[in-house]
């Protein structure tokens, strides 16, 4: 039956940016994957995806263009066939292939991948969706032994966290970095290809190292990353700025599956001579701690939302607004060297957990950032994945060598795109 009305919703504050700046080189499509113990059954995965979309209607949408803003509208089309992975990760979503859905599901051997356009959700929202998908999949595959679990982490909430936490009276001055960061350069892979290097290690080993340096795991890994960049760009005086997305849900008591994150900038300026690893850890720790607090995030939210709500922005036609967004984005992109996104410790309910082996993620490239990384852990397995459009893998090599020199046992795999070039 033809429905009289179509459900629709506004984009969240951050999502306005993504449709405007997305190109084949900067797709804003990120991937999260779960590796199971057994190979994936395509038909079961297809049924699981369909069930999950019914459960998460906020993901069964398509992107439409309004006169003043983009918006999301429920997608009446069927979800396309899930496919075996056959392309580089994080490619720009071709709406013809996905029936206008804003995410793709693929599989490879024992791994389920979801690639999601950032308009729809952030890493945490995607994690909720992927967890539900895995529950449905395992439930269909092991019908006799499993029942769908109640997981309080799985929520259908699609509130705009930014609007809810916006305080009109709060200080809304921009706290974005004005520094011009070091830009990493190198020979690129052809046809917008992406090199993926994934290192797996024990969570406990990283935890104990972090303790040794009196840092959190996140601070420690960001410091390792900054040190690897410092070592491979020795002599550069420009600031090494690592963008670290922070989940705002825990600060503002929200459980939305929409985007609800803010960026903090781990900054290390190598102005004086040589720096030891310990010194870099201390600088990064201090930089992150000074930014990760509720007051700072309140200011960021107020600045962003007040800009969105300003009348001079609200009623400007989308076409003109897009030009402004592009200009601002290009300016802001110069303030970051790279990004490290931590999806945190992922858990699955028992008895599902025994079917799951690993959780990982891949980030797409963005303007000025040709290498990025993600961190995710499941059980005692920590997975650090570097994605890069460079042929060489100097930074990745320094990073893993640094950890390995601290007695961390690491297993590395790659998609083979960083082979030696002649």
């Amino acid at each position: 039956m033809n429905k009289e009305t179509t459900m629709w919703g506004k984009l969240d504050n951050t999502a306005h940016l993504f449709p405007v700046i997305s190109t084949s080189k900067t797709s804003n499509v990120f991937r999260q994957s779960v590796s199971l113990n057994d190979d994936i059954d395509k038909d079961i995965l297809q049924s699981a995806v369909e069930s999950t979309i019914k459960c998460f209607p906020g993901f069964g949408v398509r992107l439409k263009r309004g006169l003043f803003w983009y918006y999301l509208e429920e997608n009446p089309k069927d979800f396309p066939e899930v496919r075996e992975e056959d392309d580089y990760p994080c490619r720009l979503i071709d709406y013809k292939d996905t029936n206008e859905y804003l995410f793709k599901v693929s599989y490879y051997k024992n791994r389920i991948n979801i690639e999601l356009f950032h308009v729809l959700a952030d890493g945490i929202g995607c994690k909720m969706f992927l967890k539900a998908l895995v529950y449905y999949y395992l439930n269909l595959k092991h019908k006799d032994v499993l029942e769908m679990p109640f997981d309080d982490e799985l929520t259908l909430e699609r509130e705009d966290g930014f609007q809810l936490c916006y305080d009109k009276h709060s200080d809304n001055k921009s706290n974005y970095s004005n520094l011009r960061a070091l830009t990493l350069k190198g020979r690129k892979i052809q046809n917008n290809g992406l090199s993926v290097i994934e290192g797996s290690m024990s969570v406990e080993s990283i935890k104990s190292l972090s303790k040794k340096y009196e840092a959190s795991m996140n601070e420690f890994l960001v410091a390792c990353y900054a040190y690897a960049i410092y070592q491979t760009n020795y002599g550069e005086k420009k600031p090494i700025i690592i963008t670290v997305p922070v989940n705002l849900r825990r600060f503002f008591n929200s459980s939305t599956t929409k985007n609800f994150f803010a960026m903090v900038y781990a900054t290390f300026i190598p102005t004086e001579g040589d720096y030891s690893f310990k010194e870099v850890v201390d600088i990064i720790k201090e930089s992150l701690r000074s930014q990760i607090n509720k007051e700072n995030f309140k200011k960021t939210i107020s600045y962003n939302v007040s800009n969105e709500q300003a009348n001079y922005v609200k009623w400007v036609p989308l076409l003109i607004k897009n030009l402004g967004i592009k200009y601002t984005y290009r300016k802001a992109a110069k303030a970051s060297t790279t990004t490290m996104s931590n999806f945190g410790a992922i858990s699955f309910h028992s008895p599902y957990d025994k079917y799951i082996k690993k959780y990982s993620g891949i980030l797409p490239m963005s303007l000025g950032q040709s290498i990025k990384s993600t961190v995710a852990s499941y059980d005692d397995l920590l997975c650090i994945t570097f994605s890069s459009s460079f042929r060489a893998s100097k930074v990745q090599r320094e990073f893993f060598r640094l950890l390995s020199s601290m007695e961390v046992k690491i297993s590395v795999t790659s998609n083979g795109e960083n082979n030696v070039s002649l």
Partner: protein, 221 residues
């Protein structure tokens, strides 16, 4: 699994992905899923675009040379160049892009065609003003007729064409006020307005909610 002595890591291949040196086989375990080998997909659109560009450049160069050879300044070759450019915009950026709607492709082509005619009018300076006087309202009338056919044929999704109907009406008013032919612009306004109002009237809730969506007014939760 293999082991790389230089990097101190276990890897799943004979060559270390980090330092590209040979690795040493340690055992037959292979716990890593890895990634498929991907052959770069060559986009047909990319090839078509490059071929069109090469041909266009070649033809443009010949045309400019011939024009300059036979007359002291550029004249007809500029018109040819503008036509090649129009073809490029329509074929590459409109028909070969990922827009799912055929109607949107046709509408964008009409817009490109109008800009082309506007340029010709300005460049040729023969009876200048015809692009605004006649071309603009005529194109708006054609756009309304096309819109009508799409609305009827794809009547289940009639709401998809409402914003175009509204924009055509607004452009009709603009053409009327900037001095287009009185009768032609009046026909353009009346036809598009009639189409928009009748779609709104017969469309019921589905039509009004489409307008609300496009104008971003109170999303239903």
């Amino acid at each position: 699994m293999y082991h790389c002595k230089n990097c101190g890591v276990d890897v799943d291949s004979e060559v270390c992905p980090l330092c590209h040196s040979a690795t040493k086989k340690e055992n037959d375990e292979g716990i890593l899923t890895g990634y498929p080998s991907v052959k770069a997909k060559v986009s047909k659109r990319g090839i078509a675009k490059k071929m069109y560009l090469v041909l266009a450049l070649l033809i443009s160069f010949i045309l400019l040379a011939v024009d300059l050879h036979f007359s002291s300044n550029l004249s007809w070759s500029v018109v040819c160049l503008a036509t090649i450019f129009l073809g490029y915009i329509i074929i590459m950026h409109i028909f070969l892009n990922s827009l799912p709607s055929v109607f949107a492709k046709i509408s964008k082509s009409m817009g490109a065609l109008f800009l082309y005619l506007l340029f010709l009018d300005w460049f040729l300076k023969v009876n200048s003003g015809w692009s605004i006087l006649y071309a603009m309202p005529i194109l708006l009338i054609i756009e309304t007729v096309i819109n009508f056919f799409f609305t009827v044929i794809n009547h289940k999704n009639f709401q998809n064409y409402m914003i175009a109907q509204l924009l055509t009406t607004i452009l009709g008013i603009v053409s009327f006020s900037i001095g287009s032919n009185f009768y032609l612009s009046l026909i353009a306004i009346v036809l598009s307005l009639l189409l928009f109002l009748s779609t709104l009237l017969f469309g019921g809730l589905k039509g009004t909610s489409e307008i609300k969506r496009r104008f971003h007014i109170n999303p239903e939760e």
